[in-house]
């Protein structure tokens, strides 16, 4: 049986599935239920400084987009950090940690960007017995207007500064949570590393408007006729998050920096993909908010089964295994040639591959052969783009078949070269590095 115990910057948990800092982790009641359901850890909903807590809107806090059968694909929220008193949160955290010593309990923190504020709160948190802290530099709405959250996360110098204070004033491991609302995710990650962070976690939510009410012309979610951009999360953001995880995992300056992966993780497979790209563990929120805490049972069992099937003994066997395969476009092998192939037995003749190719691509799929409805790839035209595979409703019906070296590519009329060659040496590239004569 695969061992899925997790050790993330010294924080141990029975599995790599943590609940992200968010509404599901706002109080003891919820966190107790999460641990009972089997979650390996939680990042408690973000604490603010002592004093009167923040207030939330009393209208809608969430907006969403849906797929077929109203399946939730993306969620957006304008909820702020915890609106409960700091002492209440600290007291509950301490009790929960005592009740569940084998689970990870990490405190998310967001206080004003000055040394005194951080210096003041860290000992209070440490006293709860929390296993670590996560610096919320990501929250994109509300708090950012007050100079916190993503307002810090968008300025690498601030990140480095605050991380340094935290490392100075607490013995707890520091995880720096990054905002995706920046141009290059490597910059804040490098800054966090320079500040001495133990890890980064990403992504926080993405600035978004989920919809517009076409009767009132108000953005959604709508509060008394107005709306504000909220933070977008859920399955729809997973590809964006995975790219950012991979960027940090393969960056020369941040390579090896532990990453807690966040962003639309809904199933064990999503989790495994994040970990393969370099995440040491994962954090989940939207899936739990959609289906409840029980989903962790599927995640645990699914991950174990897959690891057993593939012979992976522990998480270290899978973490970062896909990272070396993430590269720049310029290094992709231009001599790798594929052609789409349609399995006629599996084809249900919907014709979507044809019309997608005919209208929008390369006119490489028939619709009619000898007077009969028939969809077949025309190798002379197929550039191997994979669009037909993506629009086909039948999984496995269309596949991309690589041509063997030496085989004729009917489109170019040339045999497939056996050697790897990329853009850096391509004759069409004016910057090509031509080998010396």
């Amino acid at each position: 049986m695969a061992d899925i115990r997790n050790n993330f910057v010294g924080i141990k948990s029975p599995n790599p599935f943590w609940l992200a800092s968010a509404p599901p982790t706002d109080k003891a009641y919820n966190v107790e239920r999460a641990f009972k359901a089997g979650w390996g850890g939680v990042v408690w909903k973000t604490l603010g400084e002592e004093g009167p807590p923040v207030v939330n809107v009393n209208g809608p806090r969430y907006g969403a987009i849906w797929g077929a059968d109203r399946r939730l694909l993306g969620l957006n929220n304008i909820e702020l950090i915890t609106d409960r008193d700091l002492q209440t949160n600290l007291r509950e955290m301490k009790q929960v940690k005592m009740n569940w010593p084998d689970r990870a309990l990490v405190a998310s923190i967001m206080v004003p960007c000055d040394e005194e504020s951080w210096k003041a709160i860290l000992p209070l948190v440490e006293e709860t017995g929390a296993d670590g802290i996560e610096l919320n530099f990501g929250c994109p709405h509300g708090m950012s207007e007050r100079g916190m959250g993503s307002a810090v996360g968008q300025v690498p110098e601030y990140i480095e500064m605050v991380v340094r204070w935290c490392k100075q004033y607490t013995r707890m491991p520091v995880i720096t949570k990054l905002t995706p609302n920046i141009t290059d995710i490597r910059k804040p990650a490098r800054a966090a590393k320079s500040g001495g962070t133990d890890a980064v976690s990403l992504i926080n939510t993405i600035n978004s408007i989920t919809g517009v009410d076409l009767d009132s012309f108000a953005p959604q979610p709508t509060i008394d006729g107005k709306g504000s951009h909220g933070g977008y999360c859920g399955p729809a953001v997973k590809p964006i998050a995975m790219n950012m995880v991979a960027e940090i995992a393969r960056d020369a300056e941040t390579r090896g920096l532990p990453i807690s992966g966040i962003g639309g993780i809904t199933t064990w497979r999503d989790a495994a993909e994040f970990m393969a790209l370099g995440a040491g563990n994962v954090q989940v929120c939207t899936a739990a908010m959609t289906y409840g805490f029980k989903i962790v049972q599927e995640m645990i069992a699914g991950l174990e089964n897959w690891m057993d099937e593939k012979g992976h003994k522990s998480l270290s066997d899978i973490v970062g295994r896909a990272t070396p395969n993430v590269t720049d476009w310029q290094y992709l092998n231009l001599n790798y040639v594929t052609k789409a192939h349609i399995d006629q037995d599996a084809c249900i003749k919907c014709g979507r591959c044809h019309i997608a190719c005919e209208d929008t691509s390369h006119q490489a799929i028939t619709s009619m052969v000898d007077g009969a409805r028939h969809f077949e790839v025309i190798d002379e035209e197929c550039v191997g783009c994979n669009l037909c595979v993506n629009v086909c409703p039948v999984e496995g019906c269309i596949t991309m078949v690589p041509l063997e070296a030496g085989a004729m590519d009917k489109r170019t009329g040339k045999p497939v070269s056996p050697t790897y060659a990329n853009w850096t040496t391509h004759p069409n590239n004016p910057m090509a590095k031509v080998a010396a004569e």
Binding site: D69, I348, K349, G351, R352, S367, V394
Partner: protein, 450 residues
């Protein structure tokens, strides 16, 4: 338990009064909004969609379903009505299982087609409940067209002609318009007086005058019409019923299934409608199933359909056969009626002979059985009654007992078009009648323009 449940003979009141309402409620209840969205999402929006090819009226099915999915049911209804102004009734009565849904790629892939019929009903219901009219009449042309028969073909023709600015007069023999939609469809397929609501919806375009109780050959002749109208469309339907050709079929208790169905549709109180305790229906088509199932729903204890050929030859679709079976109707094959047995003038049983194929010829085997019956329905097909057509003037050419038409619906007579069940080569489907009426109207319009 109602007192009449096991009464011998043909009597009413076999069921508790509440049971009738339940038995004759909508066969396919309408989809609610969420169900419609979920079902619409199942459509793959196929290229050159097979469903559209299979529809006799060529409705752009992927488009209307996508319009439902995107929250535009009115646009969806217009897409449907553009091709088929009786899309509401077709959504209810089309044998979709042998048309659009049979060729749906999801039927091919997983045996579960997109429920095109129910989606079509969803969209057309929205438009009709709102009374939304999509078409305005073109400027008046001053041309007059007579439409004989207010059934699906006649209504479709009338609507299209009125759209083009012609003045239409519909002449209908029965007291109500709608044709088979009003008189010939099982009650659970068209509830809440839908057929009349649809007639009102179709004729609301204006420029259509309907005269009920006017029968061709009785009250006027074809020559009268060709003399006083610029064009004539014949949508006469089938008024004859084929005989059993069995001894004693005149006995009391032997009736035409179409008359039974029609009476049932017009009944204001189903409990008062008499039905036998043991009913035998002779035939293998939709009419046989409609009569058999409704007999059962009225409280008949035993209902048996007897068909002279095998299951695979039945005109009733598999869905209809299953519907019959689910309602407790027994379907027996390879049996042809031989003799109706009566006592005191009332039918008590029917004698049937087993049949077999000898080469490609169906013959009796000589072996017979008797089924006890106090009511026997004839549902072995309807025929065209040409006598009404040829009261005066030149006669209309026939083919195989029905009116001969060309590809545009033109008969052998100048100025006379025809469509629906009365023409040769049809498939006796409502939706085909609509297509023929519509296309004949376009042909008439082209002719009148010149």
């Amino acid at each position: 338990m109602a007192e009449g449940l096991f009464k011998e003979g043909i009597v009413g009141g076999r069921l508790d009064s509440a049971q009738y309402a339940e038995n004759f409620s909508d066969l396919h209840p309408p989809l609610d909004n969420h169900e419609a969205l979920v079902e619409a999402d199942r459509c793959y929006f196929c290229y050159d969609a097979p469903c559209m090819q299979a529809c006799p009226t060529s409705i752009d099915i992927p488009l209307f379903i996508r319009q439902i999915a995107t929250g535009n049911p009115l646009g969806s209804a217009k897409t449907i009505f553009d091709q088929n102004i009786l899309g509401g009734m077709c959504a209810r009565v089309c044998p979709t299982e042998t048309l659009c849904e049979e060729v749906c790629v999801r039927e091919v892939a997983e045996g579960k087609p997109v429920q095109i019929g129910r989606l079509q009903r969803y969209a057309t219901d929205v438009a009709m409940e709102e009374g939304k009219q999509f078409y305005e009449r073109a400027a008046p042309t001053g041309k007059k067209v007579a439409v004989v028969g207010a059934g699906p073909a006649g209504l479709a023709a009338a609507h299209r002609l009125a759209r083009h600015g012609h003045d239409v007069t519909i002449l209908e023999a029965r007291p109500k318009s709608g044709g088979l939609n009003e008189y010939g469809i099982a009650a659970y397929k068209s509830t809440d007086d839908f057929a009349q609501a649809e007639v009102d919806y179709v004729t609301a375009i204006g420029g259509i005058k309907t005269e009920n109780g006017k029968a061709l050959g009785r009250d006027y002749h074809l020559a009268d019409l060709t003399a006083s109208y610029d064009a004539v469309f014949l949508g006469l339907g089938l008024t004859g019923v084929n005989a059993l050709r069995a001894e004693g079929e005149d006995a009391k208790g032997v009736a035409n299934a179409v008359d039974f169905i029609s009476t049932l549709r017009q009944a204001s109180d189903l409990a008062s409608l008499p039905v036998g305790r043991r009913v035998v229906v002779i035939g293998g088509g939709m009419t046989a199933v409609d009569a058999a199932v409704q007999s059962k729903l009225l409280g008949a204890e035993e209902v048996t359909i007897c068909y002279r050929r095998g299951q695979e030859h039945m005109n009733a679709s598999i869905f209809e056969q299953d519907l019959a079976a689910a309602n407790g109707v027994v379907i027996r094959h390879w049996l042809q009626p031989k003799k109706v047995i009566s006592e005191g003038g009332k039918v008590t049983a029917i004698e049937l002979e087993y049949t077999a194929m000898k080469g490609d010829k169906l013959t009796g085997t000589g072996e017979t059985i008797r089924l006890a019956a106090d009511q026997v329905f004839k549902a072995i097909g309807q025929s065209f009654e040409p006598s009404a057509l040829n009261g005066s003037g030149p006669s209309v050419a026939m083919e195989g007992g029905r009116i001969k038409v060309d590809g545009e619906g033109r008969t052998s007579l100048a100025k006379v078009w025809a469509g629906g069940d009365c023409i040769a080569g049809g498939d006796d489907l409502t939706v085909s009648a609509v297509a023929q009426g519509r296309d004949a109207a376009e042909s008439i319009h082209r002719a009148l323009k010149d």
